[in-house]
Amino acid sequence: MVRTPTRSHNRDIQHWRSYLVNIKSQKDFFSGLMFAVIGGSFAYGATSYTVGTGARMGPGYFPLVLGVILALLGALVMFKSLVVETPDGEKIGSWAWKPLFYIIAGNILFGVLLGGLPAFKLPAMGLIAAIFGTTIVVSKAGDVFVLKEVLALSTVLSIGSYLAFVVLLKLQFPVWPTFITG
């Protein structure tokens, strides 16, 4: 008597696992999941604003409708991914962590060096330092990294950007570190 629920629980898990193993398209399953979750969150968030009626739409009306539609579309995509056969299972495949990390890190470093982080008492280092930092970090994302080459590239990009953006287009950039220019 005591075992029965466990057994049925196990069967449940097995049942679900068989479904998960039977995902016909991994890409579709997870993109559907993404749409469903995002749509649901938007719809839920929209209820905290005035929804109103059709004649007098509140700020929550349109996002609520769209959120529900997105969640339904996501569910439909997920359903299809479990039912419709694909030749290769449409696997997502491995993630390119290395380029992902270095590109995003290089981008963030650009912001940190250019503007500084007042919250951490990091001073702004200015455009030139930011260009060197970003170019070096981003270059790490490739297969080949030759420091000399990267430094040459950084120098060329610094001079080019300075001329194009600061001299020619007169965009407002902190060019040099604040502790030098004051």
Partner: protein, 503 residues
Amino acid sequence: MELFDNLALGFGVAFTFQNLIYAFIGCLLGTLIGVLPGIGPVATIAMLLPATYALPPVAALIMLAGIYYGAQYGGSTTAILVNLPGESSSVVTVIDGYQMARKGRAGPALAAAGLGSFFAGCVGTLILAAFAAPLTEVAFKFGPAEYFSLMILGLIGAVVLASGSLLKAVAMIVLGLLLGLVGTDVNSGVARFSFDVPELTDGIGFIVIAMGVFGYGEIISNLSKPEDEREVFTGKVTGLFPTKEDFRNMIPAVLRGTAIGSILGILPGGGALLAAFAAYTIEKKTKLRPGEVPFGQGNIRGVAAPESANNAGSQTSFIPLLTLGIPPNAVMALMVGAMTIHNIQPGPQVMTSNPELFWGLIASMWIGNLMLVILNLPLIGMWIKLLTVPYRWLFPAIVLFCAIGVYSTNNNTFDIWMVAAFGIIGYTFIKLGVEPAPLLLGFILGPMMEENLRRALLLSRGDWTVFVTRGLSASLLAAAAVLLVIVLLPAVKSKREEAFVEE
């Protein structure tokens, strides 16, 4: 003739020294990014948008437009010489173009692409000029209900014609619409989905989305593939001019390509890529002349037709933008952004309120096409050299320019954190096999759709039937429904899937 007066005004604007320079810069940049694989017009235009703040609006739009159609010229060079589409709309040019290059006929292939593009560009510009005025008249009859239905048609058309999975593409549109709603609601003043972040109350910048998703996402995905062995045909380009026989084959193909491209460009979701595909498919169906090289083995028609079509399509895709204010593809969505930066509300009123901008832009396209033929044919050697630049020097520069561009839109580092987030999201999209272009369209149209829906329902006192009882609105919705039904027909469906697999 009013058209000639208008064109005269346009040429007057376009022929000023400043505007000629910006048209040239646009064409040059367009060719550059067209030649370089791995960066397209969407990312480039997004990158340069902030830089156009300082320019007068006409000059800014002339330059950005030049990038788009310039990329169509440049893309063919890479397709023919390297067997890689430099630009997505040159995917089909690769098939016959590269085979021609292998047989030592790179010169005629390049000439066919260049001359075909030029002819198509001229025709596309003329169509744009001729159709703009009457279409604008129609647009003035539009009320909010019509605008809402038109946007539905535009969005449906965009996914039906231009994306792989229909369901996922529609979901991406809705996601885009939702992202477009982030920020302060204009009617109630409520900050929606901003999580008390002050920068988010202004909404998410579309430059941030475009660069994160199209720029960073693409780069990360490119880097995750092993570098291809590139076989560049350098120094082998001799005898640029096609033979008499080539011309005989080319001319009908160019004419057909131009016609298809012009029509598909106007349709929502059309533009360069689809036009090229359709033109190639039709050429393949026409009978070979005796002694002609079969398709796939270096037939000049396989280069001339798609290249003419993509250029014609890129010109005529300006029609919905300039007359109705509705962007038919992702590049045009960015042009909406460019116009709003300069306080110009895209739509039918542009032609009357800013005639010099409207006609100046159109005239500049013709001049730009002329510049492009010169840039791409006699100066082809320069672009071939460019193809030897390794990708490892290019992508750090692209990332850097994205970061600089994003920062300079608001002079705020917050946008840099946002673009990082959207870079990760963009790569996730690629991994999950969802196309990002519909998201950008939805994002641009989101606030407009909400506003028109709100107004339409306010006028009808909450009665949803207003969309089907008004004739114009009903026919627009019917067109959208027909499009959907056609695509879901089993016969069309399998053909369509085939076409996207080739891509």
